[in-house]
Subunit: 230 residues, 2 copies
Amino acid sequence: MTKKPAGSARRDDSLSRERIIDASIELLDTHGERGLTFRALSENLATGPGAIYWHVDNRHDLLVAACDAIIARTVCALKSDVKPKAAIRALALAMFDAIDAHPWVGSALTRAAGQLPVVRILERIGQPVRALGVPDSAQWAVVSALLSYILGVSAQNAANAHLARELNADRTGFLDDVASAWSALDANDYPFTRSVAGQLRAHDDREDFLSGIDLILLGIESAHGKRKRA
Amino acid sequence: MTKKPAGSARRDDSLSRERIIDASIELLDTHGERGLTFRALSENLATGPGAIYWHVDNRHDLLVAACDAIIARTVCALKSDVKPKAAIRALALAMFDAIDAHPWVGSALTRAAGQLPVVRILERIGQPVRALGVPDSAQWAVVSALLSYILGVSAQNAANAHLARELNADRTGFLDDVASAWSALDANDYPFTRSVAGQLRAHDDREDFLSGIDLILLGIESAHGKRKRA
DNA sequence: ACCTGAACACCGTTCAAGT
DNA sequence: ACCTGAACACCGTTCAAGT
């Protein structure tokens, strides 16, 4: 009689891993990584901290689970029948946007080495890399380069968002500060950094990210290309 | 009369930023990032926590300063008159080795966006990229791709070391666990991940890292190459 | 100027006790 | 099986008070 209704919105009072993860995501989105606290969480869920430990191993487990929920959604939303290079680009951009929307995911991914969320991404890179004709022996190196780059930029962006929030509450102001600090560096020791300080303000993170992906794709082609019409 | 002796080893009892940073590095190297505690630090230095705050803004400041000390040493030890591509490779490897020796540096770098330690690396990438003949308009994209990749792998390696320490106290055991978890994944959903699970145990992180750098360098050449003898 | 160390406002995690 | 909530063992940071 009281079977779970197939719909979604049924407000069940009992605790569950899923409800805990949803509440965690909300906390993380609104207050950043440091906002995920067993005390805040148990208040939002109207329980004690002990109750949460019944469904979840520890804070790290919870963070990875929340991260995985976001990654799973993101990966599932991708179209599957596209050409390999387009697929890699689409995945990369989807990741970038997901982490832009949930900065804490960037740092969580770094700490989830080899675990489910990372594997989801790995798989979505590996399949098109295979399709690209990269030989078996080189696949791991190629895929892990792409993965490292994607995770690296993600973590970086997450850290930037975190810093901007803490220091200035304003991202542009943060970049301005960095740009003027760079301009004030010693001209002999830091010629390059000084020369790009101006570009810093104007640049588009998302575009830079994508041109990094394209650079790696070019490298892959040049190293393992099928050279179709040769 | 009591001028500072020019030598180094004079054991001065008074606190200084430098002594605090040295003690921090020792703590971080022996006990990981979580080992850096104002209590442990003040015990090692035979003072109270308040004394440390006189020389250092806060924990984050301290971590970045410790990180910068390592990066500065690493960058200074590099030879300066080498060909551009060799210089980039040498810098990348030096960073990899430094972070391998001090895993906490990897995560510290991520949180030091735009600050001195990162700028040191940026500059050392930028100069050879210029020498490679990459046009001004593309320099930022190229350099930030390399930087992101290097920092990304660094953070990743740091996290692995941290995880291995926490879970198993043994790095090989950690990789074994991941490899067997990957092998147990669903064959339909994760064909690629399953296929590389075996390679995971055998692979050499350092080599993989370098082939990623080479991939990016290839891409740079192919996009902006001087094609000397064409 | 520099140091002391108690005190404040937090943390994650555990565990006896309840239902 | 699942939840409660007090208690434990920590944190970073501050600040009146000392020298």
